[in-house]
């Protein structure tokens, strides 16, 4: 009988001891960490520009975004000097599923310190969740100094400024091969009519069964269709003008209005003509199964001559491709409708949102909104920024330089990518699906615009 009491008691006592031992070791752990972070020392050499960000030894920050591969490596490199000078350890995590996963992580209470958000619509939704903290004063001061008011507005909600712009891109470049143009005597078109005339001539000159003047790729996982929305946006901005564009974004101008239907018809002249698309892949129906990454590559094989894609496509060309005005590939801005129209471009950009107000987080956030970071990152190549403190000559290519000059220019009409600003149910769902159905002729133009309108919340 006695033994039956002793055994359980012994177990309980032993567990208690174990428990006590472990918890005390935990305490020492904490003390050690506290000690090391307290012992801040002098700043390493060459850190003058970073002095404003202070010392945060031992701090580790997670930056989460969509950026991957080479661009991610460059992003990490752009933080190196900052890490060395401030003692902050920046961990970068890039995920192709960012736009979905960030919501999952926030719901699960596993927020990163900073997120680089690729579209204002998503930024607005994240702000609505209450997880995004307003931008610190240093960030706001940087944005007031280096960005135009319209860029700041994109990061502002209900009068509170949350997120500074980061990188930018100019959409609506038409990629082509200068070598081929020189060989065949083609000229870069300056109006939309010239562009159509050039397309017609290219189709007539062709003697290769796999060749079409244009190549287009819509495939992008569950975002399939977005490159098509870029086309429509470029055409609407140039054809109907910026005021109509803004109304369209706000939902005041329906898809079912003459301006937007006209834009679909204009795009259809190219995208739905089997004689004009889709070089190297098939006919118009193959557009939806061609990955946007591969979309322009047939230019290099001589299977197509023109490819409509944003400035980021510069990074998609294989290593060794000469991207220059007289090289293998180069690009011109989608032409305006008539020569007397003002220059107009659509574009994109990223915003940096913070999910806590730690001093280290604020320091990194301020750094990412500074001209120092913009020059540092742009010098590494591949990307551009609308930061006015950025020297265009730091751009890795003439396309980048031209894009920066467009973004910094005062008389250029600039509008943010419309689908990024529309409600998610349209901008990241039905507009994409609509483009897919339209280009594969599952829905005609009237049915497509009606369908997209019906999903507007």
């Amino acid at each position: 009988m006695k033994r039956r009491i002793i055994t359980p008691i012994a177990i309980v006592a032993a567990s208690g001891l174990l428990l006590a031992g472990c918890s005390s070791s935990d305490d020492t752990d904490d003390a050690a960490t506290g000690g090391s972070s307290g012992g801040g020392d002098g700043m390493p050499a060459g850190c003058e520009a970073y002095e404003v960000y202070g010392q945060h030894s031992g701090a580790t920050l997670e930056v989460y975004s969509t950026i991957q591969n080479q661009e991610a490596d460059d992003l990490v490199t752009s933080f190196e000097k900052f890490e060395e000078c401030t003692g902050i350890d920046v961990e970068y995590v890039g995920s192709q599923e960012f736009e979905t996963q960030i919501n999952v992580r926030l719901e699960g209470g596993d927020a990163p310190d900073l997120a680089i958000i690729p579209q204002p619509g998503l930024l607005n939704r994240l702000i609505d969740t209450g997880n995004v903290v307003p931008a610190p004063a240093a960030v706001e001061a940087n944005v007031d100094e280096f960005w135009s008011e319209s860029w700041k507005q994109y990061g502002t909600k209900d009068g509170t400024f949350y997120a500074a712009p980061l990188m930018a891109s100019v959409k609506g470049w038409v990629w082509y091969s200068p070598t081929e143009f020189a060989e065949k005597g083609y000229e870069v078109p300056t109006t939309w009519d010239d562009l159509i005339a050039l397309t017609e001539q290219m189709a007539a000159d062709n003697d290769n069964a796999q060749y079409r003047p244009w190549c287009i790729g819509f495939e992008s996982g569950d975002a399939t269709g977005w490159p098509g929305t870029d086309w429509i946006e470029d055409i609407v901005l140039r054809q109907a003008g910026p005021e109509a564009y803004d109304q369209w974004v706000a939902g005041e101008l329906k898809f079912n209005s003459p301006e937007i239907i006209k834009a679909f018809d204009t795009f259809g002249e190219i995208a739905k003509n089997p004689a004009y698309v889709n070089g190297g892949f098939g006919g118009p129906e193959s557009i939806v199964s061609t990955s946007f990454n591969d979309g322009g590559l047939p230019i290099l094989d001589g299977n197509c001559s023109l490819h409509h894609q944003a400035s980021f496509y510069e990074a998609q060309w294989p290593a060794g491709t000469d991207v220059s005005e007289n090289g293998d590939v180069w690009a011109f801005i989608t032409p305006k409708m008539s020569a007397s129209d003002p220059d107009a471009v659509t574009g994109g950009g990223e915003f940096v949102a913070a999910f806590n107000d730690d001093p280290a987080t604020a320091a990194l956030q301020a750094f990412m909104s500074s001209d120092t970071w913009a020059n540092e990152r742009v010098s590494l190549g591949g990307v551009i920024s609308a930061n006015k403190g950025l020297d265009p000559n730091n751009a890795s290519s003439a396309i980048g330089k031209a894009s920066i000059e467009i973004l910094q220019g005062e008389d250029t009409v600039f509008r943010f990518d419309a689908s990024d600003l529309m409600p998610a149910a349209v901008g990241t769902a039905s507009f994409w699906t609509g483009m897919n159905d339209w280009v594969t002729s599952n829905r005609d133009t009237a049915q497509t615009v009606e369908y997209i309108d019906s999903t507007w919340p």
Binding site: I11, C22, V93, N103, A425
Partner: protein, 341 residues
């Protein structure tokens, strides 16, 4: 490939962190504390249960043993389920809307298409996987090289749904006629003199091509379970049937099938439930585009991508309701089967 890359990236980050070991150490410490605490509490409870007064001891012991499981179930399953149901009858801003979200599911053309697709999946996958798996199990039973033949069909089970979907995505790759094909199936079509098909983009047949991926994976499962069951059929029974003049088909249909009925039900219901929940295949191959979305995929994209958590919750509840009758049937048949034997 993607998943692998992400995993490697995560591992790299973990290893590069200067506080990796201290932090891991403290996590292990916490885990040990938790386990010790658990052992202590269980020990104490068992001890107390043992010391309970004779009257009502059974009741005390029963409560003590069942309570932890019940508490965990409540916190981890029942409470979230209630929350999900509640969310599904409210809109995204928390206003009560009754069954509006459910009405949307069945009236909105995009959403009702999702429900129809799920029904198509459930109608085809379990039947086809089980039929093919059973036929295969019967034909290779006691044949030479049975193990190798079994492994061949079972192997897809070892591949993740995402991996299988990527493989089949390449199989279905499309290039128009006259262009060099890179997808195997279209190349095959071209060799046979046909025209290449857009397998994943042309509704409604694309849902069927996605279903094939699931069947390819699940057939192995059906085959292995049914093959084991067939081996359990007593040889005397088959022999007796032959002596009575039963044909091979008669022996199979009237002896083997009734004998393995329990296993058949388990296989069909397990695959049905897996099919109802199918998500990975649709998401990997088409992302739910081209009218291929199913309930689980739509639930995910509504709740997390499109900012419509209420609609997502309604879809989750719908999925739950669809699974219930299958589970009830499964339990009832198993119970009857057990009583019969």
């Amino acid at each position: 490939m993607l998943i692998g890359e992400q995993f490697l990236a995560a591992a790299n980050i973990a290893a590069k962190r200067s506080d990796f070991w201290p932090e891991t150490g403290s996590k292990f410490g916490q885990a040990i504390v938790a386990i010790a605490l658990f052992a202590a509490v269980v020990g104490l409870l068992m001890f107390l249960a043992d010391k309970a007064p004779k009257r009502g001891r059974d009741f005390v012991q029963l409560t003590l043993f069942v309570a932890p499981a019940l508490i965990l179930l409540t916190v981890g399953l029942i409470w979230p389920a209630i929350q999900t149901v509640w969310q599904s009858i409210n809109d995204n801003d928390g206003n009560f809307v009754g069954l509006d979200n459910y009405a949307t599911i069945f009236t909105d053309p995009t959403m009702s298409r999702v429900v129809i697709n799920t029904i198509v999946w459930v109608a085809i996958v379990p039947a086809m996987s089980t039929a093919v798996g059973l036929a295969y199990a019967v034909f290779i039973d006691k044949s030479k090289g049975e193990k190798v033949l079994k492994s061949l069909v079972f192997m897809p089970m070892a591949i993740s749904f995402v991996g299988a979907s990527i493989i089949w995505g390449f199989m279905y790759e499309y290039r128009a006629a006259g262009f060099p094909q890179i997808g195997f199936l279209n190349q095959l079509l071209v060799w046979l003199g046909g025209t290449p098909q857009q397998f994943t983009a042309s509704a409604p047949m694309n849902t069927f091509y996605l279903i094939i991926i699931m069947v390819w994976i699940q057939t192995g499962f059906a085959m292995v379970v049914l093959s084991a069951a067939i081996k359990g059929v007593p040889a005397e029974l088959i022999e007796a049937a032959s002596l009575d003049g039963a044909t091979a088909w008669g022996r199979f249909w009237n002896v083997t099938v009734p004998w393995i009925r329990g296993s058949l039900v388990v296989v069909v219901t397990t695959i049905t439930i897996a099919t109802l929940k199918v998500f990975d295949i649709v998401r990997t191959v088409t992302g739910g585009q081209f009218n291929t979305s199913v309930v689980a995929n739509e639930m995910y994209s509504r709740a997390f991508r499109l900012g419509q958590p209420s609609l997502g919750a309604a879809l989750a509840v719908l999925l739950f309701i669809m699974v219930i009758p299958i589970i009830i049937y499964n339990v009832r048949v198993l119970r009857r089967h057990r009583e019969a034997h």
